[in-house]
Symmetry: C2
Subunit: 241 residues, 2 copies
DNA sequence: TAGTGGTCTAGACCACCCT
DNA sequence: GGGTGGTCTAGACCACTAA
């Protein structure tokens, strides 16, 4: 473990247990550098981490302060990003299932070529899967992946986790993804597989997943039952440049 | 302008105009430090900015590489975060309106106390506004703000921009916000004001906005017409600690 | 083993807040 | 004007990749 992360963790613990009171000024960076037997630059790096994590904020010329809502975030590991959650409480007694409706290989459509930076002749997998919780279907997922990047997909892979396969078997590291969210009226597939009534909408999430090197890996449209899935995320107010 | 941002901008220009080819290795940090007459630490800071912006990625021991999808992001100013967009193209000929349906002061509900960290006796504004594009209503926004933090709100303020008022008149700096997104069936208000039919759903966004010091500032629920609004965002795959 | 990025230091100067 | 955070340097050592 590198030093600035260790310092950040220690300070986080102190915020959590109240050594540094909420909404008050922390010791200045020079004092912290002395206390942790390190340089001020390292302290600054640690505080930058905590700033991004939403625990503290700094005012140049004034000091470093604990955020009022810091305690809610002071738990151990922090991950920035969105979170797709089931509205229903999921525990051990519940049964999550995964049913493959379609598994095909074909040439991509124009939209798919554009999103995945493919040529018309580059074959893709087309996969349609249904997610089921306690015999109640809640999401219908339509995925397109280029064969060139993700070879060797089988029904067995789909039954387990495709992302695990891509990560562990193919050794591909995921990067960012871009999503668009809409509400939509149910179409024929939704009515059939998600058992949507005429007035029961779906939450449609369109996503392009990239590898760490920026190559588009997957283009997917997921349609969620409106009464079983919601998405939540923290939006940091970070501007760059 | 500080040096590391200048360096980052210059490198971004080079990526954009093709001086550094996509998917190839960039010059190493020591060379860049020499070229820009600066230290390696400063180069590293510049590359960190570009990494967060999604333009490059580094592999320790190997080098710094341009992402394949970098060009889409190489435009001038970059902002991380979500984006609520109107599906319809908006240009000068279009007319955006803002109609206040309700403007009240009252004591908060239990949920509002919890979300805004208030006591039962702390009065709040309750505001309901309708957003209209070309005489077509597209969003219905319900906001709760504590009087103690945001005093002096008037109908005139609501008619213009409440966020401008908070930022410019009150001098409050915004921080992060937390959002939850759902699809929902239209309720009576949606039918009346958004002119939703029985099977026209809404996209419901619940948001808590915080100040830079972490104090909850606003608790809002916005309901958008499904055929006029969508939300999109980039999800960086960043883990901290 | 050579080359590259990641971290760290001690000291310096500047920008900004506050009184 | 004193105190604080933001930036920057030159040099060092370590961790990792790739041949």
């Amino acid at each position: 473990m590198v030093k600035y992360k260790e310092v950040a963790n220690e300070i986080r613990k102190r915020i959590k247990n109240g050594s540094y009171p909420l909404e008050e000024r922390m010791p200045d960076q020079t004092s912290l550098a002395k206390e942790f037997h390190t340089s001020r630059v390292t302290i600054k790096k640690a505080l930058d981490l905590l700033t991004v994590a939403g625990l503290v904020y700094t005012i140049q010329g004034s000091g470093t302060y604990i955020k009022q809502n810091a305690l809610q975030l002071a738990e151990s590991s922090i991950r920035i990003g969105q979170n797709v959650g089931l509205t229903a409480q999921v525990d051990e007694r519940m049964h999550l299932e995964n049913k493959t409706i379609k598994f095909d290989v074909r040439f991509p459509t124009e939209e798919e070529c554009e999103q995945l930076l493919l040529k018309k002749e580059d074959p893709v997998y087309e996969i349609e899967r249904l997610r089921i919780l306690n015999k109640q279907p809640y999401s219908l997922e339509h995925s397109i992946l280029p064969l060139s990047l993700v070879p060797g997909v089988t029904k067995d892979v789909l039954q387990k986790s495709m992302y695990d396969y891509i990560r562990n078997e193919l050794g591909i590291v995921f990067g960012e993804n871009r999503q668009t969210i809409r509400a939509a009226q149910p179409d024929e597939l939704d009515k059939e597989f998600l058992q949507c009534g005429e007035n029961e909408p779906v939450l449609e999430v369109t996503k392009v997943m990239f590898t760490s090197s920026g190559t588009p890996l997957e283009f997917s449209k997921v349609r969620h039952r409106f009464d079983m899935v919601e998405m939540s995320f923290v939006n940091l107010n970070t501007e760059i440049y």
